[in-house]
Symmetry: C2
Subunit: 188 residues, 2 copies
């Protein structure tokens, strides 16, 4: 049983990234597992401190601590929570298969999604971005809601909708967004 859980999250984020920041996956896992947690909000100053870098070598979010371990990388944290709760099947073959899909999401699906987002958010008007984008077709879930790539595919759309309808996901998203709303530097 995990206790004394503390995660880090961003104090504020640009509007287009709110609801996408990586602590969301950890919050969601904790909500599904029914585990209470505290949040330490960080900004650039804390993220660059030696103390925070000892917890998260890249100075990103989320960092995670419980009574026993300290972790960074949302994938590692989610898997740790899953291993210590009822989120994974008990039967060994099914448990292994579920973990394989965690890795598939992080290493096979996610990189193309991030690359597409990088273009759309940062290089939409650059020549290389315009040339590169058509080739970056990827399996797509929540991160691609600014495109129609998920909503065009009924099975994927239904899966995403079922995920987003879960009360645990709604609590996780609301908790992340609440910090941003409190810490908004100015109206956009």
């Amino acid at each position: 049983m995990l206790t004394n859980i503390r995660i880090s999250a961003l104090r504020c984020a640009p509007a287009r990234f709110q609801g996408q920041v990586r602590d969301l996956a950890v919050r969601w896992a904790l909500e599904e597992a029914g585990l209470p947690y505290e949040v330490r909000l960080v900004g650039p100053e804390e993220q660059n401190s030696a103390e925070y870098r000892a917890l998260h070598p890249f100075g990103k979010v989320p960092a995670y601590e419980d009574g026993e371990v300290a972790l960074f990388e949302s994938g590692a944290i989610v898997l740790h929570i899953a291993e210590k709760s009822a989120l994974l099947p008990d039967e060994p073959a099914a448990r292994a298969r579920a973990k394989a899909w965690v890795f598939a999401a992080l290493n096979s699906v996610d990189p193309d999604i991030i690359a597409l987002g990088d273009i759309d958010h940062f290089a939409a008007d650059e020549a290389w971005g315009k040339q590169r984008r058509p080739a970056l077709a990827a399996m797509v879930l929540r991160a691609l809601r600014h495109t129609s790539m998920v909503s065009d595919m009924p099975v994927l759309r239904a899966y995403r909708d079922r995920c987003e309808a879960r009360p645990a996901f709604q609590r996780a998203l609301a908790a992340q967004l609440a910090h941003f709303a409190e810490n908004e530097p100015n109206a956009a």
Copy 2:
């Protein structure tokens, strides 16, 4: 103790990808753990078969089976081998930290390396590749040996060299390359 281990690997691969194909990480982990394994060689025909897709939904390599579980995704497989052998520290905090670095390699470091390789191998002469490349600076290890990005950094270079000097790594690499040499369609 893992027994009856079988992995899949490519029957042949273009010269520039030999020594980079993803079964190498799994072979290396198995060599470090001292676990014998069988290799099932596959090509496009097997990779697209329903039987293989049941094992690996993306039709890629490596797929993995032992007496108890079936897995895909090299990261999931390496972690499974590590969990069942002496490759991870026993102490919980150290064990968790080691796992976090596996995820960091797969989800924070690897995507930029792959993106750089995609440009260098497939889009070096395209305008978007030329424009995009300078911004793709990434932490770099073995996959970037075609650049000087590792050899310019003494600590990283020494780490890579120590890794590649390990007998287990040498055995894994030799085993992968031997299949390619046997199955070479023609001299390049």
